[in-house]
């Protein structure tokens, strides 16, 4: 049942590293305007799926469609230009750029990135930058990072880097954000702030989210729909509260792999 309102469609995706099948016939859809989660025990293939969607890995079989485009084997920067933006498990800030500069990198199609403009019409880039700075100030304000604008990104704390990643992503005006473990390694107070930011971005800017997340409480709180992966394929889909009752899901999380190996 191909969902016409799906922003992202993953169909029969498979990917092996050497002889190991990390992803094995995985399929799911992500509805436009939703906040979804991709969960599963360690080794389920979640990160590989993220890599395949984001273009860091070229998939070996199956297809990925995003917003009407086949992005199955597309390079990462081209996928990004379609409005699909991913983050990484560890913060990947531009360390020797200031916080403000970090926000000025993402906006697409900057005229000031054209070499001829740079050499012969530097005012083009400067004028464009003034507008971008205005936008960046607003974004930094909403994320509470404005006072850090001139700090090198490398000097921020772990939590601040997470906020910076989200703020920076907003500047790219994406349609879809794929967050790989956004809550990993940050304190509960900041988790609450991050998830309210995610909900606000969905409500105000209509950005669709897919979170790969281990913190199931967060998933239950903010996600409309959850895809559970185990052994490289989709195990179940639904709301978190329903999935908690699903015996297969519970088994996958509580050492199902061990049971199976013992049985086999």
């Amino acid at each position: 049942m191909p969902d016409t309102d799906a922003l992202l469609q993953v169909e029969h995706l498979s990917h092996s590293f050497g002889g190991f099948k990390a992803v094995d016939d995985c399929s799911f859809d992500i509805a436009r305007g939703s906040i979804s989660a991709l969960i599963g025990p360690n080794g389920a293939g979640k990160s590989t799926v993220v890599g395949l969607i984001g273009g860091a890995l070229r998939n070996q079989s199956g297809s990925i469609h995003f917003d009407g485009h086949d992005i199955s084997r597309m390079a990462a920067f081209k996928v990004a230009r379609l409005g699909l933006l991913r983050t990484y498990q560890v913060s990947r800030e531009f360390g020797r750029l200031t916080v403000m500069e970090n926000l000025l990198v993402p906006p697409p199609n900057q005229k000031g990135e054209n070499l001829l403009n740079v050499l012969f019409r530097p005012s083009v880039g400067r004028g464009e930058d003034r507008m971008l700075v205005d936008r960046a100030v607003e974004v930094l304000e909403t994320f509470g990072l404005l006072s850090l604008r001139d700090e090198y990104a490398a000097n921020l704390s772990g939590g601040e880097k997470r906020l910076l990643e989200l703020a920076r992503a907003v500047m790219a005006q994406p349609k879809f954000m794929l967050l790989d473990e956004p809550m990993a390694g940050i304190n509960p107070a900041l988790i609450a702030r991050l998830d309210s930011h995610i909900r606000r971005l969905r409500d105000e800017l209509g950005i669709t989210f897919l979170l790969v997340e281990h913190n199931l409480d967060v998933v239950e709180r903010i996600c409309d729909r959850v895809v559970v992966m185990a052994f490289g394929r989709t195990l179940a889909e639904g709301r978190m509260s329903e999935l908690r009752q699903n015996p297969e899901v519970v088994r996958a999380y509580l050492g199902g792999g061990l049971d199976e190996r013992a049985a086999g």
Binding site: Y88, E93, G95, R96, L97, T98, V105, G112, L119, V133
Partner: protein
């Protein structure tokens, strides 16, 4: 007095040319993080092509043979040398940058440079092999017949003007959104990719523009000395430029000025004027190389960011928008 002035003028010319080199390498490495271990090949490319555009035709009979030999005026030859170096930068960049990163990329540049070095020094019809190009008459000698000291002063002026142009090129790139994207690519290429930046293209631009500056410097060298041969661009020369850039500080062009003064003028060039010691003629060049290495170690130890570190950009001071109370700024939490 009669000797001091031409001596200082000569040092000045080398200082100016080395500034152009360090800025070129800085565009590649300091801005975009492209580790180019064959920078000197682009210098040579600029020198050779400027040479064969400015020289008369060579021939096999005279024992001086080279391609082209167009007798064109020096300014055009300089531009041709710069363009040739830029194109070579693009070609080597396509091989090295397209699929590889960091150390692997650097090794490919080194390998490409070694291949080119072998080709140029052994294939005489190209640039007269290991003997190299020679016999370039003083540029502008038809309009301005000068003795050799006067020519040195003229070259201070010429290379000074060209250096200023190169400064503006390097600064405009650094302070542009393109330069910002280059620095972002340097800090994290994958992350820049995920923001839709064509990082391979960005790095190719940096590689090529850096090579253009190298070529300009090489062409100025050719015009000044009137000769150029493989002995002048052994791979070790690349590391003199690297040392200058790192000692001065990467990611900003004033660092290049300081570094090229300390390494390329004070240590490298100035020691050439110390009279040779009869007992051991190789002593002075050896001491020079040791001094360059030592300066690099001292800087990396004491001040790894270089004498002049990359400037923190506070281009975006508040208040940017009128009517917004500054209190909003303290929110943070």
């Amino acid at each position: 007095m009669g000797l001091i002035l031409p001596y200082l003028a000569t040092l000045m010319v080398f200082f100016f040319i080395y500034n152009i080199f360090t800025w070129g390498l800085n565009i590649q490495f300091g801005y975009a993080g492209v580790l180019d271990f064959t920078f000197i090949t682009f210098v040579a490319c600029g020198a050779y092509f400027a040479g064969v555009f400015a020289l008369g035709p060579g021939s096999k009979q005279t024992g001086f043979e080279w391609i082209l030999g167009l007798n064109w005026p020096f300014p055009i030859a300089l531009l041709a040398g710069a363009a040739a170096a830029g194109i070579l930068g693009l070609i080597i960049g396509l091989i090295a940058i397209n699929r590889l990163r960091s150390d692997y990329m650097a090794i490919v540049t080194l390998a490409a440079g070694t291949v080119i070095y072998g080709l140029v020094s052994n294939f005489t019809p190209l640039f007269d092999g290991f003997d190299g190009l020679a016999g370039l008459t003083q540029p502008f000698s038809q309009i301005l017949p000068l003795n050799s000291n006067q020519f040195t002063y003229l070259w201070v002026l010429v290379s000074g003007v060209v250096m200023v142009v190169c400064w503006f090129i390097a600064q405009r790139i650094l302070n542009s959104p393109l330069g910002r994207t280059m620095r972002a690519t340097r800090d994290d290429q994958d992350a820049a990719d995920t923001f839709g930046k064509d990082t391979v293209r960005v790095r190719l631009i940096a590689m090529s523009m850096g090579a253009v500056l190298a070529g300009v410097g090489g062409a100025l060298l050719m015009g000044f000395i009137g000769a150029f041969s493989p002995a002048g661009w052994t791979s070790g020369e690349t590391f003199v430029v690297f040392a200058a850039m790192i000692v001065g500080g990467t990611g900003n062009n004033w660092g290049g000025v300081v570094g090229s003064f300390v390494v390329a003028v004070l240590i490298n060039e100035a020691t050439r004027y110390i009279p040779p010691i009869q007992a051991d003629p190789t002593l002075i060049p050896t001491v020079r190389n040791m001094l360059i290495g030592a300066s690099l170690i001292v800087v990396l130890w004491v001040r790894p960011q270089g004498i002049i570190p990359e400037a923190r950009r506070r281009l975006y001071q508040l208040p940017l928008r009128p009517g917004k109370p500054p209190a909003a700024e303290v929110e943070s939490a």
